[in-house]
C-alpha cells in the first residue's frame, strides 16, 4: 500500500518534471531562434523609419508603420474591450449573483465566442464592411479586434471575480453599499491585480493576431493620421517580409518578430509592476 503510494508520488513527480522541461525548452527554443535570426538585422533605422520604395525588395526603410499601427490598433481595441468588458464582468458577478443559471448561460456563450477562430471575426467584419461600403481602415480593424478580444477579456476577468467569496459581497451590501458601489469599490479593488493581468492577456492577443485584421485593417506603408485610413500591423508586416524570396528581407521579418516579442514582454512587466502595487490591499481569504 505504502509502496504503491510512493510509486505514485514518484511517477507524478517525474511526469511533472518532464512536462515542465518540454514547455521550458520549447519556449527557450522559440525565443532564442527568433532572437538569433532577428537581432543581427535590427537597426535604429528599422525602428524609426517607414518603408521606402522597394523596402520589400531589400531596400531602405523600416517598420515604424507597423509598430505604430499595431500599438494604435491593439491599444484601441484593449481600451474599448475594457470599457465594455469590465462592466459586464462585474455585472455578472455582483448584480446577477441571484441568477446563477443566467450567468452560466452568459459564460457559455462567451466561451463559444472565445473558441471562434479570429479569421471568422475577420470575415464577419469584412462582410459588415462591404455591406455598408466601408473600406479597410484603422477604425474597422480596431472594432473587429475589439469584438474578438471582448470574450477573452470578459471571461478572464470573470474567472477572477468569481473567486471573490460571497461573504465579501454580503459584507459590502450590509454596510449599505449599492450593487454598483460594491462592484466598483470593493470587487474591483479586491481583484485589481487579476484584472490587470486580464487586460494584459487581451492586449497580447490583440497585438499578436493577424487573421482578424487581414481584411479589415488593410496594410499601408504610412502611419495613419485618421481612423478612416488603412493601417499596417506587425503580424502582417512579418508575413509580407517572410513571404519575400530575398534572404535579407526574411531576416528583417525575424527582426520584426523580435520587436513584437519585446512589446509583449514590456507590457507584461509593466502590468506586473502595476498589479504588484495594488496587491497589498487584496484580502487573502
Amino acid at each position: 500500500m505504502i509502496q504503491k503510494k510512493e510509486f505514485e508520488e514518484k511517477f507524478f513527480r517525474v511526469l511533472m518534471f518532464f512536462s515542465t522541461l518540454i514547455i521550458a525548452a520549447a519556449l527557450i527554443f522559440i525565443i532564442f531562434s527568433v532572437l538569433y535570426k532577428g537581432l543581427p538585422s535590427i537597426s535604429w533605422e528599422m525602428l524609426t523609419q517607414v518603408p521606402e520604395g522597394g523596402f520589400y525588395f531589400g531596400r531602405e526603410g523600416g517598420i515604424l508603420n507597423a509598430i505604430v499601427g499595431s500599438l494604435y490598433l491593439s491599444t484601441g481595441a484593449t481600451v474599448m474591450s475594457f470599457l465594455v468588458g469590465l462592466p459586464l464582468a462585474l455585472y455578472m458577478n455582483v448584480h446577477l449573483v441571484r441568477y446563477g443559471k443566467l450567468v452560466n448561460t452568459i459564460r457559455f456563450i462567451l466561451d463559444l465566442l472565445w473558441g471562434v477562430p479570429s479569421i471568422v471575426y475577420g470575415a464577419f467584419g469584412f462582410a459588415v464592411m462591404t455591406y455598408f461600403g466601408i473600406r479597410v481602415s484603422l477604425l474597422a480593424g480596431t472594432i473587429t479586434v475589439t469584438l474578438f478580444v471582448i470574450p477573452i477579456m470578459v471571461r478572464a476577468m470573470d474567472e477572477i471575480l468569481k473567486s471573490v467569496p460571497v461573504g465579501l459581497l454580503e459584507s459590502s451590501l450590509s454596510l449599505g453599499s449599492t450593487r454598483a458601489e460594491t462592484a466598483y469599490k470593493v470587487f474591483f479593488r479586491q481583484c485589481l491585480p487579476g484584472l490587470s493581468t486580464a487586460v494584459l492577456l487581451s492586449f497580447g492577443r490583440a497585438i499578436g493576431d493577424a487573421a482578424s485584421i487581414l481584411f479589415t485593417a488593410g496594410f499601408t506603408d504610412y502611419i495613419p493620421t485618421s481612423p478612416d485610413q488603412p493601417v499596417a500591423t506587425l503580424p502582417l508586416s512579418i508575413f509580407f517580409q517572410l513571404s519575400s524570396p530575398i534572404p535579407q528581407v526574411q531576416e528583417r521579418a525575424y527582426a520584426s518578430a523580435v520587436v513584437l516579442v519585446i512589446i509583449i514582454l514590456v507590457t507584461s512587466i509593466l502590468s506586473r509592476m502595476f498589479s504588484h502595487r495594488y496587491q497589498k490591499n487584496k484580502i487573502n481569504f
Partner: protein, 253 residues
Amino acid sequence: MMDKFKIVIENLNLQFGNQPILKNICASIPENKITVIMGPSGCGKTTLMKSLNRLTDLNPDAKVTGSIFIDGQDILHTSENITLIRKKMGLLAQRPYPLPMNIYNNIAYGLRISGRRKKRYLDKRVEHYLRQVSLWDEVKDRLKEPAGRLSIGQQQRLCLARGLAVGPDIILADEPTSALDPISSQAIEGKFNELKKNYTIVLVTHILRQAKRLADHVIFMYMGEVVEQGPASEIFGNPRQEMTKSYLNGIFY
C-alpha cells in the same frame, strides 16, 4: 412594562432548494435590548440573521416566505430600496470579511458612501469607532496598512467598528467574540451593554455564560424552529421546554 418590539418575525419559512432550513419562525425582538439567539450548530441561526438583512436575496436557491417587520414595515414585501433597509442594520458576520483597503478606509468606507467626505470629520469618526471596539491603541500607528494583515480577532473588531460607523439602529452580531481572548471578549461585551442604550442588538453566541451575562431576551432554536423564547430570566431560570432545559444543562443529544 411592555417591551416595544423593533423586529417582529411572522411565519418566516426559508428553503435552500427543497430543503427547509427555517420553519415557521415567529419571534419578536425588543427595542434597545440585547436578544440572544441560541441553539446547536446548524440549527439556522446564521441563516435567520441573514434573512433579517435580506442577504438571502443573493442565494439563487433560497426561497423565503412570511414577513419580517422592522419598525412596522414588512421588509420582505416592500417597495422601499433594499439598500436603505440594510443601512438600518449593521451585520457582523460569523467570519470577518474586511474590505480590500487599508484599516482607516475600512471604517471610512461606510461614511463615504453616505456622503461624508471631509477629512477632519472622517478622522474623528474613524478614531471614535475604533476606540469603541477597543482597537484604536493597537492600530493607531498603522492605519494605512491593509486590513487583511490584522489578526482574525482584530478583524472581527474592525468589522464591528465598520458596522457601527454606518449608523444603524440594529446590530446583528453573529458570534462576535468567537476569535477573541477572554479579556477582549469582556471588553466587547461591556461595549454591547453600553450600546444597547442606542441600538437594538441581536446576538448569536454559543457561550452560555456570555449569553447569561448579556441577554435581556432569548430565542432558543433547534433544527430550524424556534423552540422557546422570552425574557432571559425566564428562559435561564425556568425554561418550559425539556429541550431548552437539557441544552442549558449541557446534556444535549
